[in-house]
Symmetry: C2
Subunit: 266 residues, 2 copies
Amino acid sequence: MNAAKTGNFQQLGQLQRVAIAEAQFLPGEILLDRPQQHYLSRVLRLKEGDRFIAMDGQGQWWLAQLSPNPEFATVLESIPVQTELPVPVRLILALPKNGWDEVVRQTTELGVTTLVPVLSDRTVLNPSPNKLDRWRRIAREAAEQSERQIIPTILDLVTFRDYLALPEKPPNRYICVTRTEAPHLLAQVLASQQSPAGLQLGPLEIAVGPEGGWTPAEEEQAIASGFQPVSLGSRILRAVTAPAVALSLVAAALEINPNPNQSILP
Amino acid sequence: MNAAKTGNFQQLGQLQRVAIAEAQFLPGEILLDRPQQHYLSRVLRLKEGDRFIAMDGQGQWWLAQLSPNPEFATVLESIPVQTELPVPVRLILALPKNGWDEVVRQTTELGVTTLVPVLSDRTVLNPSPNKLDRWRRIAREAAEQSERQIIPTILDLVTFRDYLALPEKPPNRYICVTRTEAPHLLAQVLASQQSPAGLQLGPLEIAVGPEGGWTPAEEEQAIASGFQPVSLGSRILRAVTAPAVALSLVAAALEINPNPNQSILP
């Protein structure tokens, strides 16, 4: 049973969600910054006594009410909600030439926990720090709109080879490849949920390549670092479509079987 | 074993694919129209003797070679390829306000057979015939790029209620709903594949609503017409993201278990 789907939530679903930083939470109150005050009163046209949902970006939602003093909102109660995936999902993405805004938006809607933009052998783009700020803003907006409890983290840019060289090696790592006989990502994730080790040992990682795919050398290095090669299906997906497809499959596999040790089939 | 993934295909994967109309196929030859001649010789810079793949849009690919006369290409052989889903998938889409180009592109990449644009109670857009032409062109281009064997059909606009009133009622109909306790689309498609009736009785249909979702009256009428309500997960997806998610799940479920009467798990 998912609290996000109860009748209570249908009412809450009418309320606007606003991301509030940890430092703005005072005992029983929220200190609103200028852009938030503007958004609440001018854009949403909320008045004293009107309610909204304050998301702390760390997994908790709070029912809040605008105070007579427009710089403050009163925290009324915490809201039980579960819209996050049962395990963290990290997406390692070679930057496509275009379309990153939409990739960030779609994968945030689909429940990604961390986005790792990487430079690959076939990546031509080296984005400016402004781009990273822009993607983080898009992730925050998409998290609000899709009713996420947390805002995905977008890491700073790193080369794929440097990322592979990191000592941390989670047990469930998948690299999407094309034109090979690799097993399907969905089959792999469903099968891994049947194993006693399950998915509880660490985050699930998926690496998606750029236009033209990963180079054979990158695929080999990834496999040596514990990544299993997987397919996203028989058709060739664009670099901007593949991340959303990978997230759709992983999110659905995790949500139809939230207990990693329980089979989805009788 | 999938012919699209064999070694032979890796070589063919380097060749450009061009959609050719049925009337252009002569015995052993293809009559190229002016735009195709321009595309092959000016854009792709192919010369006499160079090869390309002619897609007839009906499921068959042909290896073709440019003739000395640039108006013709010689048909060398048929190409065994299987990039289509094992059952036809029809997507019934309430038109979102924006983003239809991308919806057509992504769902074509993901294997949709037929797109049915519908007017729903909450649809505001009534697209011009030009828009339909534009979407059909996008579907053709996306089919070429994603190495589909067929080009998805985009039907003329119809109201959702008129569509539901059609006498044809395939056995596997799903309507995506939000904020309810509906079972997950992936779980339903996987489960339906376990049943003896399976998916071979007809096309699989999925209806995806507009911004704000279907109205309760529409959901009721759809359920009365044999649609099963399903969820796409705990988060709220935008109207432009939901179609690609639905197609990702259905395509993957069909591809990991192409035989409807065989379990995916031991």
